[in-house]
Amino acid sequence: MKTYENTGNKDTRSGFGAGLEALGKTNENVVALCADLTGSLKMDAFKANHPERFFQVGIAEANMIGLAAGMTIGGKIPFTGTFANFSTGRVYDQIRQSVAYSGKNVKICASHAGLTLGEDGATHQILEDVGLMKMLPGMTVINTCDYNQTKAATIAIAAHKGPVYLRFGRPKVANFTPENQDFQIGKAVHLQEGSDVTIVATGHLVWEALEAAKTLHAEGISADVVNIHTIKPLDEEAIIASVKKTGCIVTAEEHNFLGGLGESVARTLATSHPTPQEFVATQDTFGESGTPAQLMEKYGLNAAAIVKASKKVITRK
């Protein structure tokens, strides 16, 4: 069994900030827009070093999306930054018409996604954003798992032509993927070789999946673990290859089971390789205030929940 070392807890949003700042130095077409959350999005370095390419739009997210769409006309590559809720649900029609349908090269970068936003509560804890974004034709949807991967993904999406939704979060979590990794959009990362159950996870749940695999291993259950950082386009080949070995699958995500990664995986398997599946996800509910750890425990989004789901799905083979 492979071991993964946590090189120290770091927030994924800081990975975004670092990636954006790196892009600022190397790509003069990259511009950044922020709706009054520069510090929260870790965009300060880009703002300080490239003030002429940083646009503070105020608390006006709809205008931000429209501005970003317009800036692509003239060759700019706009990165918008605000919380996931205000990046998606609040501006869905602006994204739909001015960005997705218009085929604009806008990178919608969303922090504080999901329950791990914590104490601010359900108004800010969007658990529907992946579903909203993946339903838009032509939209690429990425949910990174740690600091290093978020930084790499931020840099990678600048080179991808077309709209992208990049989702990351607030809390400091394990940083375990390689520094300066080659991030390939749409390519799953195989983390653990196993034969009894497949665990595919995205975002903050990837580390939890690795922890769950350790627990399962100690109990004699061998888990195949796959990091699905790109929910759309989904690496169907990697998922099917894994379930062909294991015969069952658990999907894990910090999102509603409706519209999330699990649903995309279920569709893939239903049409190509029907397989018993369990969903580690929120169960069509809003969140609430609490610490990130408390919330992930209460809503069943941690390693223990993945272990439980794995044991259950194995019995359904």
């Binding site: 205008n63 429209g66 006309i73 700019k76 602006q94 018409q97």
Partner: protein, 281 residues
Amino acid sequence: MADIQKLEALVTQVRRDILRQVHKVNSGHPGGSLGCAEFFVALYQEIMDRKEGFDMDGLGEDLFFLSNGHISPVFYSVLARSGYFPVEELNTFRLLDSRLQGHPTTHEGLPGIRIASGSLGQGLSVALGAAEAKKLNGCSHKVYSLMGDGELQEGQNWEAIMYAAANKIDNIIATVDLNGQQIDGSTDDVLELGSIRAKFEAFGWTVLDIEKGNDMAAVVKGLQEAKSLSGQGKPVCVLMHTIMGNGVDFMMHTHAWHGKAPNDEQLATGLAQNAETLGDY
């Protein structure tokens, strides 16, 4: 000097194009289209500095963004007659597999269109983004936009209006089509807009009126004045007073023809009032 007579002749032909497009598919929006015929002809034939051909980035030329996308018939007619695509293609308006969708879109690759519009209130933000890109690119050309007056009820416009003044975007000339009508009735009845001039001025814009928005000479003069007022640290707003349905007597001064096509008889009447000038498609 603008050849007003020549521009007016084109307007007459554009009115025919509008009526024939919507009549053929028994759908579309003739009222607002007719009201803005002079504006579009003036803009594309006289005011804007345009390059040959079309490329999305539009560096080194003026750009135009239509926010109230439902007046696509006038946009398509003027784009075609300005050389962006064959005039015959107006025959495909709103038909299956056409590049001339009900509302304008980049999705089918129609030359001349730089953003999809239809869902209201988004065009000014996009135009401002393009204006910012022009500044970043060191391009001294202007960005023009058009929105409806009823459309100002959409809140996003006011975010954009605030942003433009705060950021001194002075390469934008945003025109409001003041025809006083929207789908459910007059703008005063549906949701009173108050003084649009006072609102724009309070937000820090330079505002000028074109009182006769269906008088070609007045439209050309007004837009030239707007152009001369740009580049002075403030965004420029043109309040263009138009008559919905202008040029077709039974369609004028009413919201009834906002989104309704004429029948055969009504088409004949409308065309009789606008004799062919440049040739029908």
